[in-house]
Structure formats: C-alpha cells, structure tokens
C-alpha cells in the first residue's frame, strides 16, 4: 500500500504549486475546523461538559431555565435559542460529531469491503465474478438515498445502523473501481512475470494489484464522504439519527421544521449551513485531489 499512499501524500503536500490548490486549501481548512470542533464538543465533551471553558458556551444537550424560549440571535446566544431553551450555537458547534463519525466510518467500511470483494472477484473471474458484478450493479443502479433510508429504517436508528446502511450503499462504488483496476493490471506484463516466477495468486494480488488501485480510490472517497455527510443529515432529518438530546444537525432541522411557519428561521438556517460547509469542504478536497492526481484532466473536471 505504501507506494500509492506515499506518492499521494507527496503530491498533495503542497510541494507542487498548482493554482487549483486554492480549492483544496479552502476545503482542508473547512474540514479541519469542523473536525476540531467535533472533537472538542462531541459526545465525549457532552458528558464532561466544561472541560474546555466556554467552548461551546452552553451545554448543547441541556435546557437552561434562565435562557429565553425561541429567542432570535442575540449577543448572548449568537444563533438564538430553540424551543427547549437550549443554545443553538452550542448545538451547531457540537452537531458535527455524528455526521463526521458516520461519514468516515461508513466510507472506510465500504472501502474495505468493496475493495476486498472487488479484488477477489476481479482476480478469480468466471461465474463468481459475474454474480458479484451483477449484484453490485443492482445495488449501484438503485437510488442510493432511498436505499440508505430503507436500510436504516430496517435496522433502527442510531450511530451503528447509520454507518452500516451508508456503507452498504457505497460498497459497489469501490467494488467497481477495484475490479476494473484489477482487470486492467492483470494484463500487465509484470503480473505475468510474477506468475512465471511462481508467485502464488494471492501474493500477486496483494503485492502488485493493491497499490495500483489506491489512487483511484482516494480520489473518489472524498466525494463520497461529502455525499455521506448529506446522507447522514437526511437520515437524522427523517428521525433515524442519534438519540436525543444529543446534537445532530439533521435532527435539529427536523425540530425546526415544526416552527417554520411561525418564522423562527434560525432553528433551521444555522444547522443547515453547517451541513453545507462541511460537505462543501470535502467536495473541494475531492476536486483538489482529482486535479493533483490527473493534471491533464484538470481543465475538464469530469467527475
């Protein structure tokens, strides 16, 4: 694995000054600040609230009798308060934990499972390969959002069901990438050579084919994380997210929806912006990585 990964790290480490890197930089800054916020304010911070004085300003999970109910943004509550007399700003700061955890975990899971099955399937070939491909195509062609919702509804709400269902949706993506790469690389002479020297099938698989697929996978995964964040938000919006009173942007938007017609705009605006910026951050990183990996493709920016 090292070869591809090192090369990739070298390339994005900024040694080569490319104009497209502005996007990458913005993306990295956005994502890192959200990650930092999630670590400081996330669920572990919830239980030991007050570890970092003033961050977030209020316990995001607690109703404060002294706070007004449904107050618009003020100097004290920058993003207003919600119907349970909680501070919206604190909830927005802490609300990134669930989307980030779910997105990272689910894509990692999808990547491992998808790639592994893809390698095996592509290498073995024959009818197992056809069966795998067909199944994966069936999943892939189905609208991913609908599939994720259906699966999570089946498994119940919470962190693990969300991770599992989103991972399931992305398995075919990695399966396809890896399998295509395996088929391509299989024809390479060095594989032939390795085979001629008597290396076992599995050895060839790991030593030669694995590193070559890493690049393609890295480029895709950033976009997938961006997408997974939106999916998590949608699941939480539909009520399949973390148990209350844990802050979760999508769920807070669902709550805000009840107050929409009364014009309490701040309940939905701020958590939504947070989702948008986090997802955008990963989108920009994905764009930056594609540029770096394929300088030639830069002008065309195909997905």
């Amino acid at each position: 694995m090292e070869r591809g990964l090192t090369a990739w790290l070298l390339r994005i480490s900024g040694l080569r000054k490319l104009r497209g890197q502005t996007l990458l930089k913005i993306g990295v800054v956005l994502v890192l600040s959200f990650i930092a916020m999630a670590i400081i304010c996330g669920p572990r911070g919830l239980e030991q609230y007050g570890r970092f004085p003033g961050i977030p300003p209020y316990n995001p999970a607690k109703s404060y009798a002294e706070l007004p109910r449904l107050s618009p943004p003020t100097a004290k509550n920058w993003m207003g308060t919600d119907h349970l007399q909680r501070d919206v700003f604190s909830r927005v700061l802490a609300g990134g934990w669930a989307p980030l955890a779910v997105a990272f975990a689910s894509i990692a899971l999808a990547m491992s499972v998808g790639s592994l099955v893809g390698w095996i399937s592509g290498y073995i070939g024959g009818w197992p390969d056809r069966a795998f491909s067909l199944t994966m195509d069936a999943i892939y062609s189905f609208p991913s959002m609908i599939l994720a919702i259906a699966l999570v509804a089946v498994m119940g709400s919470g962190l693990i069901p969300m991770i599992a269902s989103i991972a399931f949706v992305y398995v075919p993506t990695y399966f396809r990438i890896t399998r295509a790469e395996v088929l391509r690389v299989r024809e390479y002479t060095f594989v032939e050579a390795a085979r001629a020297t008597g290396a076992s099938g599995w050895r060839i698989l790991i030593r030669h084919i694995a590193p070559n697929t890493v690049n393609a996978i890295m480029a895709v995964s950033s976009f997938n994380i961006a997408d997974a964040i939106l999916t998590e938000a949608a699941l939480a919006f539909l009520g399949y997210g973390l148990p209350p009173p844990a802050p979760d942007w999508g769920f807070d938007i669902q709550n805000g929806q009840r107050y929409l017609q009364s014009g309490y705009w701040w309940l939905i605006t701020f958590p939504g912006l947070a989702i948008l910026f986090l997802s955008l951050g990963f989108g920009l990183i994905g764009e930056g990585i594609s540029d770096l990996l394929n300088p030639k493709r830069r002008r065309k920016h195909l997905l």
Binding site: M145, V154, L230, L238, Q257, Q261, L302
Partner: protein, 339 residues
C-alpha cells in the same frame, strides 16, 4: 442479428436478473428486521394471540419463508405487487396513482437543472481557467453539497412564510382541491385540459419551489458535465476549422460545439435519474408531495411490507429501464458507438 439488436438483448438479459436480485434482497431484509407488521397494525391494544395468529395467516406470514418467497416472486411476474396493509389497496394501483406526481416533479427538476446547468457549463468552458470559470465551478460543487431537504425548508421560510409569494407545500390549494378532477394525474396538464386559468396558475405556483429544490443538486452535476464535454469539443478539429473559416465565435459555440457536446450531456441527463429519485424522497417529504417517494417513507413508518417491497421493486425497474433506454438512445444518436 444487427449489433444494436444484440446489444438490446444483452442489456435486457442483464436487467432482468438485476431487478430480481434487488427484489430478493429487499424481501430477505424485510423478514430479518425487527418489528412485526401485524403488531404494528394492531397497535398494542388488547391484542389476543388468536387475533395475531389470524392476521398472520391472512397475510400469509405463517407460511415457511421459501414458500412466501416463491409466491411473492410469482406475483411479481404476474404484475401483482400484493396489497398494502396500510391503505388496503393493491400496491400496483397505489403506485400508478402516485407516479404522475413524482414524474411531474422530476420533469420540472430536470428542466430547471438544464436551464441553469447547461448555460453555466458552457460559459465556464468558454472562459476556462478564468475567474468566471472558477466561480461557476465552486457554485457547481456547492450545488451538490447542498442538503436538499434544507434547501426546501429555506425556500419555504423565505418565499412562503416571509415573503408570502408562493405556497408552502402540496400540489394544489385547498380551495381547488375538492373540485379538481384528475384526468392524467399530471396536474399541469389537467389544469390545461380543464382550461381554468386560476387553477393553472395555482398549480404552477405549487410546482416552483419543489421543482427548483430538486433541480438544484442536478444543476451542478449537469453543469460540470456540460463544461467537460464542451471543453473536449472546443478542442476538436472541426471547431478549429469552423473558427479558421472566420465564423463568429458565438456561432461556433452554438452551432458546432454545443451540438456535439449535447450527446454526452443527454446521456448524463438520463443516467441522473437514479439520483433524482433519491432527491425526490426528501423533496416529497418536505413539500408533502403525494408521490411515490412519500409513499415509500409512509410505508416504512407503518412497516407496510408489501408496499415497501412493491415500491422498491417498482423504483428499481423504473430506474433500470430509464438507464437502458438512455443507453440505447445513445447508441442511436452517436454514430461512433458500435456494439
């Protein structure tokens, strides 16, 4: 056998098992999951074991799994999707009556996406690597970083609640709802057939927000594809020739470049359908749009197995068919593609 015919047959041969796999997965998953449709229906009141057993029998749930499966697949082949336990009506009927709503929404979403995606894509390609291009590019990426349900809600807050320009949700105002007659189920078309201008305006007003919401994410995607396709074509020989002939740049772009770039754009347009259906779930939820996706969400809440299986199978068949048709169209449109 001609190449195209063989290709169609090949694709069909692949589509059938794909749908079959999808349906089987759904069937199995539903039976593995916790929660019992019978108990959900009876709702925790004075439920006697006999009543549960009786209902289970009526729904065929007391039969062994493989027999249930064979019966279900048999029904599917005959076009019988079973009966919804929530509404008591055949699932097929439910889906057909809801399809126009979803399609109407999808068409408007697509139209919006095309209206804004293609021109901005062209503009970005023409001004490649200039500030205009960068701005458009970020907008395009931003457009699919948008949480679609949130966009819908923000539109409602701004345009319905604060400004009062457009209705919050649904397909038609209540004052028309009870006298409105569905003819095709496409309300826009129905309103035109009925010839009532007031109703027509009302229908259009109701379509704007959900249509734009659904179209926004597609816009970015389409814009990027347009840009890429245009760049490729603009570099091509015939465009250079046209330029050297001294044709006006605008004419070159519109007449020569765009026409050729349209082929991949149209393809992507069709392939986006799966994505569009996914977005439709959330759009329909937020705007209380009485379509297929909303039906799916309701069925999930009520553990309505037959409705769920049927809807997922339906969406699967629908999306695969659209993909197939687009693929075939592509082979017809583009003379370079040979099978």
């Amino acid at each position: 056998m001609s190449g195209v015919t063989r290709y169609i047959l090949q694709r069909l041969a692949l589509t059938v098992p794909m749908v079959f796999i999808l349906v089987s997965v759904v069937f199995l998953v539903l039976r593995v999951m916790p929660g019992d449709p019978v108990l959900a229906m009876l709702g925790g009141r004075n439920v006697s074991p006999e009543l549960i057993a009786q209902k289970r029998h009526e729904m065929g749930l007391d039969k062994p799994l493989h027999i249930q499966y064979v019966e279900y697949i048999g029904g599917l082949i005959r076009g019988d999707l079973g009966r919804s336990t929530r509404t008591g009506k055949p699932v097929g009927e439910e889906l057909i009556s809801r399809l126009p709503a979803t399609l109407e929404l999808a068409i408007w979403g697509m139209l919006f996406a095309a209206l804004f995606g293609i021109p901005t894509g062209i503009l970005a390609a023409v001004r490649a690597d200039k500030p205009t291009d960068h701005v458009i590019r970020v907008l395009h990426i931003g457009s699919f970083a948008l949480p679609i349900f949130w966009v819908g809600l923000m539109f409602q807050v701004i345009f319905a609640v604060k400004l009062g320009w457009l209705p919050v949700a649904s397909r038609l105002s209540g004052r028309f709802a009870f006298s409105f007659q569905r003819i095709t189920g496409f309300y826009l078309l129905d309103a035109m057939i009925l010839g009532d201008k007031e109703v027509l305006v009302d229908v259009v007003k109701h379509l704007v927000l959900p249509g734009v919401t659904l179209g926004l994410a597609q816009m970015g995607f389409l814009g990027r594809v347009t840009r890429a396709a245009m760049l490729e074509v603009l570099d091509a020989e015939y465009v250079t020739t046209a330029r050297s002939k001294g044709l006006a740049e605008r004419l070159v772009i519109l007449r020569h470049a765009l026409r050729n770039a349209l082929i991949p754009i149209i393809t992507v347009f069709g392939l986006q359908f799966a994505m569009l259906m996914g977005g439709a779930v959330l759009t329909e939820t937020v705007f209380s749009w009485p379509g297929i996706a909303g039906f799916l969400i309701q069925s999930l809440y009520y553990r309505d197995w037959w409705a769920l299986q049927g809807t997922i199978a339906f969406i699967g068949v629908f999306v695969t068919t659209v993909n197939l048709v687009v693929d075939l169209l592509y082979s017809v449109i583009d003379p370079r593609v040979r099978y």
